[in-house]
Symmetry: C2
Subunit: 141 residues, 2 copies
């Protein structure tokens, strides 16, 4: 006999695989577009998440990576002239990452490219909303 918690555990495992697979698909999609702009996937992710000036820690959280990696990525973007580290107003420990005009322009180009052939395109708008609600309930913020 198959107990209820066994099937639950199985669904749970299936979901892990699906979520991981979709995350990899999204990353691959990002990688190809970023690469066309001379960026790594991580640099592309950083650019995508920099919707406004933010601290390095906040960028790391939005990228779901360690701050040390965000530092590494920010270094590269800074070298390429796409962002600057400004002193944070009101907290001398923190730095504010600010896109340069070139960085902002590159970001727009990247976003345009990302919206084409998105891995999430097979889903209708209502489905995307439903997915967002479900994920938001599971993700720890």
């Amino acid at each position: 006999m198959t107990t209820e918690h066994e099937t639950r555990a199985q669904t749970d495992r299936e979901l892990c695989g699906l979520i991981n697979g979709l995350a990899k698909q999204i990353e691959a999609h990002l990688r190809t577009r970023a690469s066309a702009l001379g960026l790594t996937a991580s640099q592309g992710a950083a650019l995508r998440e920099l919707t406004r000036p933010m601290t390095l820690r906040e960028l790391a959280e939005r990228m779901s990576c360690e701050p040390s990696n965000a530092t590494f990525v920010a270094d590269r973007l800074e070298e390429q002239g796409y962002l600057e580290r400004h002193p944070h107003p009101g907290n001398r420990r923190a730095k504010q990452l600010v896109l340069t005009p070139e960085g902002a322009e590159l970001r727009e180009r990247l976003l345009g490219m990302l919206s084409e052939d998105s891995p999430l395109a097979p889903l209708a708008s209502e489905e995307q909303d439903a997915l967002r609600r479900l994920l938001a309930r599971a993700v720890i913020r």
Copy 2:
């Protein structure tokens, strides 16, 4: 004015962040449990996916990683005596990865630990099913 495809693109970006975040949560959850058994996160993922004997390529696909990494992980598991590479019946190129009794036992222990405090626990069974359907529609198999 905000056009329709702009809000769609924004939802799309939000979803990318949520999916990536959840994937990282799942991996972190797996990492702690695997670590308690003396395994790396990847080894844990391999064990989780080895529901039956399969080729290295199939394992790599289920783990959403490159075959070279699956080789690496299988090497470690084999060294530790948890799996064996058997000749594949009917295809001399392929090898069949088979869990040893110790490996199968370890897998059961890991699965038990993984079902506790799963990151997906906040979702009710119906929600998990809904999530599974949505993801299955987006993921390329």
